[in-house]
Symmetry: C2
Subunit: 323 residues, 2 copies
Amino acid sequence: MSDRRWMAAAIALGERGRGRTAPNPNVGCILVRDGRVVGRGWTQPGGRPHAEAMALAQAGEAARGATAYVSLEPCAHPSPRGPACAPTLAKTGIARAVIALTDPDPRTNGRGIALLRDSGIEVVSGIGAAEARASMSGFLSRIALNRPQVTLKLATSLDGCIARANGESRWITGAPARAHAHLERARHDAILVGRGTFEADRPQLDVRLEGLRDRSPQRLLLSGTVAPPPGWRVLPDPAAVVGLEQTNHLLIEGGAKTASAFLAADLVDRMLLYRAPILIGDGRHALGDIGLAHLADAHGRWRLTDTRMLGSDRMESYERVRG
Amino acid sequence: MSDRRWMAAAIALGERGRGRTAPNPNVGCILVRDGRVVGRGWTQPGGRPHAEAMALAQAGEAARGATAYVSLEPCAHPSPRGPACAPTLAKTGIARAVIALTDPDPRTNGRGIALLRDSGIEVVSGIGAAEARASMSGFLSRIALNRPQVTLKLATSLDGCIARANGESRWITGAPARAHAHLERARHDAILVGRGTFEADRPQLDVRLEGLRDRSPQRLLLSGTVAPPPGWRVLPDPAAVVGLEQTNHLLIEGGAKTASAFLAADLVDRMLLYRAPILIGDGRHALGDIGLAHLADAHGRWRLTDTRMLGSDRMESYERVRG
Ligand SMILES: NC(=O)c1ccc[n+]([C@@H]2O[C@H](COP(=O)([O-])OP(=O)(O)OC[C@H]3O[C@@H](n4cnc5c(N)ncnc54)[C@H](OP(=O)(O)O)[C@@H]3O)[C@@H](O)[C@H]2O)c1
Ligand SMILES: NC(=O)c1ccc[n+]([C@@H]2O[C@H](COP(=O)([O-])OP(=O)(O)OC[C@H]3O[C@@H](n4cnc5c(N)ncnc54)[C@H](OP(=O)(O)O)[C@@H]3O)[C@@H](O)[C@H]2O)c1
């Protein structure tokens, strides 16, 4: 297998931690010796142990002379919660390290790679960088923008309605789309709804998929007026996402006012649209005022990154084009 | 080439007439002898000459012994405007006829095929039937339902808006989508807009594509109150489509009230959606009340038949599932 394919496998391992590693990144690591996997690891819930530590523990003596595929540069800074990975890797005698992304955390930021090189380890970096960036987008957003990556989910009819005028919204999309949406919940650290939705629906916001129930995210309520209900945390305003230090990936599930407020503040990085092949007509719409002054300003902001049929519904993922 | 592929070519020829042959079907015909095309024809504007007559005129003596590929059963009934095609084909000495669809017109309806067979010609039917049905959907609708096939076109943002709240709607979709929409105009005999749209926009409804300007359809205005402006015809009500005898394919281009009225009357057979990767927010919506009583009733009515990217916009074609 090529470096690219081993790295893809390491990134896929890192995905297992997604939604549970904040404030740490969801890293994946594979140790390969003579074409055989001798250790695999991914960042554990809460952020420790790191992916490299887990893979090294599995490999034991077999790590000597191996190539380490890591989706993010190994950390150079020890923390009260454990030793730094770069010196640990060096000590175990790996021969080569393939790294997708440099860690932008100012405490590492190239120092991990330098330490490995100084120990005589061959280091290749940049392999699978785009995929690694997508996988750890939440951590990268926290470092670059000091806030989680924000995904807005909308499930609509072909004519852009999220419910009938009387509020009836069960169901617009079919079972495969709803299962996909639950899987997306598991990939997020936190889910937010507005007070209107909270009061109307009392949503559970849990992951109702066999084997993933323990992955239900932190629940957040957007409200400037109410106290947090038990098990919830309150966000007084979209701008308060900056304070969410334990959240890499935030999912917004409605309602229209909440979605519009986040869009108006340009705090949405990704949209996850589910579209059913039905017409509703004079229903409730997905959005209200998002502060658009001219039609021309609406263009060039969103790029389709993924699309797929889920039963008879279409899923589309759009990414905010910045800069 | 196989029968299927020759038939596909005949149907493609028939597409050249689409939008201009009403009340006749847009038929295509290819005459093939020894693997070589000796004649090609398609129904001419106004419905005459027929595709077979045109192909036979081109082939002359070369028609003898040829196979005729015709997308619709040759007519058995002479008309004041010309002779019947089935006996003409028989007389020219073709050896074989491959026919996609039986002509549901009660004056032919199997009699054309019988006449060919009685003349000693080998007849194969049903080849390419689904494609032929899609191509001549307008004519088939007129025979089966006594009205044109009705297509509703909508160009929206991702959140289902057709304009900003102040009416600004130039442009939502990009140039490739707009060119595609003009091409669709050329494939329709008539285009309809509501009085609101007529008065707000004074639309030309012509085909603004090089080489196709002469294919601009008949213009129809939905209004129970106004007299037809010069060059327009008035339809007082959606149900009046039944009176449109010179129209196989009708395209509805808005506005929301008109689209909703046709949908509420279940008079839309096809939807042509263009969707731009933009958000508008509190804009004007594509539809108003379409008479939906329960969400469950909205399901199972529309089937995706085609989808394609046009620049950064997505085109989708949906067909009404009936019966
Ligand atoms: N079919 C679906 O897919 C779907 C999905 C979700 C929701 N829904 C429906 O949508 C309805 C509720 O939606 P909604 O739009 O009325 O309300 P909402 O977005 O759920 O909640 C709005 C509330 O968010 C709080 N908020 C705090 N800061 C805000 C800011 N800067 N901008 C806007 N809001 C802010 C406000 O609460 P305070 O007043 O407490 O400050 C505001 O009243 C419900 O009926 C629900 O069932 C449908
Ligand atoms: N951005 C876009 O893609 C787009 C496309 C099209 C239109 N538009 C905009 O949409 C606006 C007009 O739309 P609209 O919805 O107000 O009006 P509309 O649908 O264009 O016209 C409504 C009119 O249709 C006539 N009508 C006759 N029978 C009817 C029936 N059974 N049901 C409903 N209407 C019937 C009525 O005219 P009478 O009162 O004379 O009977 C009614 O006033 C304009 O501003 C236009 O610019 C935008």
